[in-house]
Subunit: 193 residues, 2 copies
Amino acid sequence: MARSAIAAAKRRHIVATAYGLFKRDGFHATGIDKIIAEADVAKMTMYRHFPSKDELIVEVLNWRAQRFSHQLDRLAEAASTPQEKIAAIFDWHERWFDSPDFHGCLFQHALAEFGEQHHAVFQAATRQKRDIQQRMRSILKQSMPDSRAEQVATILFMLIEGATVLAKIRQGKAAIASARRTAAGILAAEASQ
Amino acid sequence: MARSAIAAAKRRHIVATAYGLFKRDGFHATGIDKIIAEADVAKMTMYRHFPSKDELIVEVLNWRAQRFSHQLDRLAEAASTPQEKIAAIFDWHERWFDSPDFHGCLFQHALAEFGEQHHAVFQAATRQKRDIQQRMRSILKQSMPDSRAEQVATILFMLIEGATVLAKIRQGKAAIASARRTAAGILAAEASQ
DNA sequence: TATGAGTGAGACAGGTCTGTATCACTCTGG
DNA sequence: CCAGAGTGATACAGACCTGTCTCACTCATA
């Protein structure tokens, strides 16, 4: 393997390791030393790839956002109708809430820990939230007027974010079930207009 | 004023000051030194009232939860029907999202920063979330069967939590409006059964 | 085989963190 | 007036933080 390819792999390994620690312990509570120890990497290796901890956090968020986005892309391809695509998003969350190392939404946590509007981490997290909303808008526009799609996307987004909060306090199963039913009801009502 | 009354007032002052800093900057990012400087209090005064920073955080959360709870109590007294009581909760959130120093939900932030299930801070935040849910359940049980009240309360709770997340990324106005409309629709549908 | 990009290990600087200790002071209640 | 609860100021311990620096080393490639 080429030298630069090894370096790139190591970079990805740092991101993946940091992701696991940030997810479990939070951003401020996770020190650089813990990351490099867990990743089994020299401190300078990390600082050569990322100029600061904040920029590492941004990279972790972007990486996670892209992975999530790709997963939803695949699910959307497998579904045919807009209703099925939306249902697939709820399915994904149901599985997520049930996964053994569920620790809540990393982007919600980032918004919580870096509340300043102009902070790069805050903006990266905001971007992901807007992307998900935009994704649902696009799906919904295939089966209702644009202005309705806008509003329905907001409602579905709130249900999902709220379900994620409830999942964190161990009420995920009931929450996502109620959210899914409500969403189905709204979509059915829209369709019959 | 009695000596102990002054001490009690100072204790409340520390809690109120810490609340402002935690809300704005987060829990980990707010050091003890910043709190005592802002409260204009000696470090030992703080540590005499609170054995540790974590216990101060718990006290801040409980204090805030109680204040919020009392506000909702007053609003509920002013309303007559369950529908009005629920609407009042949405009103409260609309005003909150618009207030100049809105920084998101302190309890959501606490869940984000202290993710461990057995941590006292996590449990204090969980307690508040469950209380709000319970409050809505009680209101709804006056106008629908218990099992429905349970599910509708979960839906309304998710809408509110989701709207709070959206408010944090500057979409609070549209979010709470959609949430309110959806809630009204659900309550109307329940009533006509 | 020689070069040099990338690395591991760890010391280090300078700051911040929580929590403890000390001491002189104020001011209320008896 | 005086005892003592409560306080302000400050130094301190010990840990941890981010980020910089050095130096010897590995190993793919030219």
